[in-house]
């Protein structure tokens, strides 16, 4: 009996095992055919041999990491993580005295933000590789990153905004980057009942002018819109240049349980702003000066430091006083993406609760305005008749359309969050050509240059919100992902999956040849205008001003000058102004002090950076170079003697035999 049951259980176990095997192999087979990556020569298409370069740079927003990650495509190799709205102890960003001002706001120092949509600068509707802009969603900000250094060069706070989401979406010559508010808020802010939303709240659309040579940003004007929630934006191209289109939701104007209350109307609005008209009104003196508090932070590669300027007012245009400035285009339903195609004719709207993709026609919109084909108004802004602006509809392509990019060959690629796929369709005929699944829940997608007039339509990258079982698990928090598809042929082909930094909301891609030749190798020491630069070892010194001690220090392989310092006292504020004297590329030096409530410095050749250290107890404190700089990197170290407060220990410093070397 016992034997029998044993045999039976063995048999059962055996068949179970077989079943499991069968199932798992089925699963694998399914996955294989679905991904397409096992068929054909996908691997060779993404293989970039050691020492070879990728064809494209991809810049992916880090979402709630506040960063931008630069990748190479097609390999998916991570090249650099650029801190923007974040602090980064690795680079000392937000820790050293030079970069702290970049994170200043009217609310004080804010070390974090939610970075969503990178936008490469454009000239004549084509990416030019000069700068990349990105929005800070939480505390409304806009940042500019310099693509010669891959570092944050400027951060501008956006006043009268409640979340900078529909941003930066710049114009075809980078005349403007825009900043549409996600939340409507009282403008100016005041203490009112939240339920007075429809009456007291306004939504500001900011137009930030970009100085063509320096890239410097300045809020040129804001358009004060009714209490809508603005989502994304797209600036016109070619014939539609001069207009910017913003999607909005919550045309119901509710302030609570929005997932239900803002999903009732069949149509919401795309706001079409004629910014050339706005410039005319501005010139005619129609703008009102509104008091506002916001910070403008600019970093200089000459002084190697950022400065903050407090700004006090902003120019505001009121649509009811400026006829022809803005129109509302009814659009099904809670639209997310709004994307002007490369010809500038169609404005493709992805109504995320709609079954269709709606494309408005720019020429029809102009005609409707001319014919005054209005269908009421909201807060003084005319609504155009839906039928009079509709250019075409892609019928039932999928569920939850979010965002569309173009390949320059007449095709569009739309991401579908709910049905988790990319759908390729033809602009003009509105027919679906192909669909490919994504793993899983794609948000935005990106074709290099796919939002410009000249897409480089070789790949589309899916930016996925959820990965579930796609990678080795890492506890409860899993990576988000990017997926690379070839779009050379009629059918899209999945080539590669790779993890991303933070949540990649949107990305930009560009031919490496537009950036690589301009990439800076190091800073010229002779051009260093930092106020505390130490241009040679002979200039190194330690200066006391009350309880402030300034150490003018240099680094070169493989020593600090000075590397022994005495005469520091408990209670001092010690500023180490460290200049890296190296003039060769890829020779940074690091600097760290034991017990400093701070990060390290990571100083590029020719640069000066400052670490603040406030010694709290008596002793001899080690300091050293943190970046493996040379064969004698380990020896690149020194001591700082800390004496009691008020002690008479003389201020002395040296290198080598108590006298400067060289």
């Amino acid at each position: 009996m016992k034997n029998q049951s044993n045999q039976l259980s063995k048999l059962l176990l055996g068949s179970l095992a077989a079943l499991v095997l069968l199932l798992s192999s089925c699963g694998k087979a399914n996955q294989g055919s679905a991904s397409g990556a096992l068929s054909g020569n996908a691997a060779s298409k993404v293989y970039v041999a050691p020492g070879q370069y990728d064809e494209f740079y991809a810049f992916m927003s880090g979402g709630f990491s506040g960063q931008i990650a630069a990748y190479g495509l097609p390999s998916g190799r991570l090249l650099k993580v650029i801190p923007v709205f974040s602090v980064d102890p690795e680079k000392g960003y937000g820790f050293n005295e030079e970069t702290k001002p970049l994170l200043n706001t009217s609310h004080g120092f804010i070390p974090w933000d939610d970075a969503h949509h990178p936008a490469l600068s454009q000239t004549n509707g084509e990416t030019d590789g000069r700068w990349i802009f990105i929005n800070g969603n939480n505390t409304p900000r806009l940042a500019r990153i310099d693509l010669t250094t891959f570092e944050t060069a400027e951060i501008l706070e956006i006043p009268n905004s409640g979340g900078n989401h529909s941003s930066p979406y710049l114009t075809q010559n980078t005349e403007y980057v825009v900043a549409g508010t996600r939340f409507s808020v009282p403008i100016p802010q005041k203490d009112v009942a939240i339920s007075s939303y429809a009456e007291n709240f306004k939504g500001a659309l900011s137009f930030v002018k970009v100085e063509p040579n320096t890239g410097r940003m300045n809020i040129e004007f804001q358009v004060l819109m009714p209490a809508l929630n603005f989502d994304l934006a797209s600036s016109g191209k070619g014939p539609s240049h001069g207009w910017t289109f913003f999607t909005s939701y919550n045309s119901e104007m509710k302030n609570s349980l929005l997932e239900v209350n803002a999903s009732q109307n069949d149509k919401d609005f795309v706001a079409a702003v004629n910014w050339k008209k706005a410039e005319e009104y501005l010139k005619a003196g129609k703008a009102k000066d509104f008091p506002a508090n916001y910070m403008h932070n600019v970093y200089s590669d000459e002084t190697h430091m950022a400065t903050s300027t407090a700004m006090k007012s902003v120019k505001v245009l009121i649509p009811s006083e400026c006829p022809g400035l803005v129109y509302l285009l009814p659009t099904p339903k809670s639209p997310h993406g709004v994307d002007v195609d490369p010809t500038g004719e169609y404005i493709v709207c992805s109504g995320k609760l709609s079954a269709d993709i709606t494309a408005h026609s720019f020429p029809k919109m102009l005609k409707a305005i001319e014919d005054k084909a209005f269908d009421g108004e909201v807060g003084g802004v005319p609504i155009l008749k839906f039928e009079s602006v509709l250019g075409g509809t892609v019928k039932e392509p999928g569920l939850g359309p979010l965002h569309t990019e173009f390949d320059g060959k007449g095709n569009a690629y739309t991401s579908f969050f709910i049905s988790s796929e990319i759908v390729k369709w033809k602009v003009g005929t509105w027919e679906v050509i192909d669909r490919q699944p994504t793993y899983y829940s794609i948000g935005h997608l990106m074709v290099p240059g796919g939002n410009s007039m000249k897409p480089e339509g070789k790949y589309v990258v899916a930016l996925n919100k959820i990965t579930k079982d796609r990678y080795l698990p890492t506890g409860p928090e899993l990576t988000q992902s990017a997926q690379l598809y070839s779009i050379d042929g009629d059918k899209m082909e999945l080539l590669l999956d790779f993890p991303t930094i933070g949540e990649p909301h949107y990305a930009q891609g560009i031919s490496a040849s537009k950036i690589k030749p301009k990439s800076k190798q190091f800073f010229k020491l002779s051009e260093n205008k930092h106020p505390y630069v130490t241009p040679t070892e002979k200039d190194a010194k330690v200066v006391r001003e009350g309880n402030v001690v300034r150490v003018y220090m240099t680094t070169i392989r493989s020593h600090f000058m000075p590397d022994n310092i005495e005469g520091i006292r408990v209670g001092d504020k010690v500023y180490f102004h460290v200049t890296n004297l190296e003039q060769d590329f890829d020779v940074p030096h690091g600097f760290a002090v034991m017990g400093a409530n701070n990060a390290e410095l990571l100083i590029m050749p020719g640069q000066t950076e400052t670490l603040l250290w406030e010694p709290k107890s008596v002793g001899v404190i080690p300091m050293y170079c943190t970046d493996f700089c040379s064969a004698l990197h380990q020896e690149m170290q020194g001591y700082i003697r800390v004496s009691p407060a008020g002690s008479a220990t003389a201020l002395r410093w040296w290198l080598g035999d108590e006298k400067p070397v060289q």
Binding site: L525, S526, R557, L581, E582, Q583, D584, A631, L632, E635
Partner: protein
């Protein structure tokens, strides 16, 4: 023609006469130092500093152009020689030309010997406190040619100015030969 040959010498003020290139895995593009008649420069602004940084590990002296007196008086010698040659060109006397060429060759030989002495000094006269000491190792770059020095391949070759000097003697020699043929035997 002899005039041109003598004038070619002046190109030394326009082009470097010699180059020394160091190549190692960490320096894929190489580090190149150019030796002029009156200065020492690099392929980039920081090259000399970078070479000095590399050299200091093995205790070589800093290369400081200001401390090399030859860079001050060689230009005078070269300018004088060139002017003399150009003046002699008008005499049309091939024997004088010949003499000038021989003088020039001796001068070049002495210059190269001087260069060798400097190289020897830099390569052998090492600091007793050098971080890296390898018994029996010297770091003298080749006078002309390629040589491995630890992890570096050192290449030492004439550069544009040097090629023109070669041109001086070739052209000068031809001028002498032609002139001699055309001169009736007295």
């Amino acid at each position: 023609m002899f005039f041109i040959a003598a004038a070619l010498m002046l190109t030394l003020f326009v082009f470097p006469m010699w180059q020394i290139t160091l190549i190692a895995p960490q320096y894929p593009q190489g580090v190149t130092m150019y030796i002029w008649i009156n200065k020492i420069t690099g392929s980039e602004e920081g090259t000399l500093q970078n070479i000095n940084i590399l050299n200091h590990y093995v205790g070589m002296k800093y290369i400081e152009p200001d401390s090399i007196p030859e860079l001050k008086y060689f230009p005078i010698v070269v300018a004088a020689m060139s002017l003399l040659g150009m003046a002699l060109a008008f005499t049309g006397r091939w024997k004088w030309w010949m003499g000038w060429l021989i003088l020039g060759l001796i001068g070049c030989g002495l210059g190269l010997y001087d260069f060798y002495l400097w190289e020897y000094d830099y390569g052998h006269n090492l600091s007793p406190t050098a971080p890296i000491k390898i018994p029996g190792m010297a770091y003298q770059p080749p006078l002309i040619g390629n040589k491995m020095l630890l992890n570096f391949m050192a290449k030492s070759w004439p550069y544009i100015g040097g090629w023109f000097i070669g041109g001086t003697f070739i052209l000068g020699g031809i001028a002498v030969w032609l002139q001699k043929r055309n001169t009736p035997i007295a």
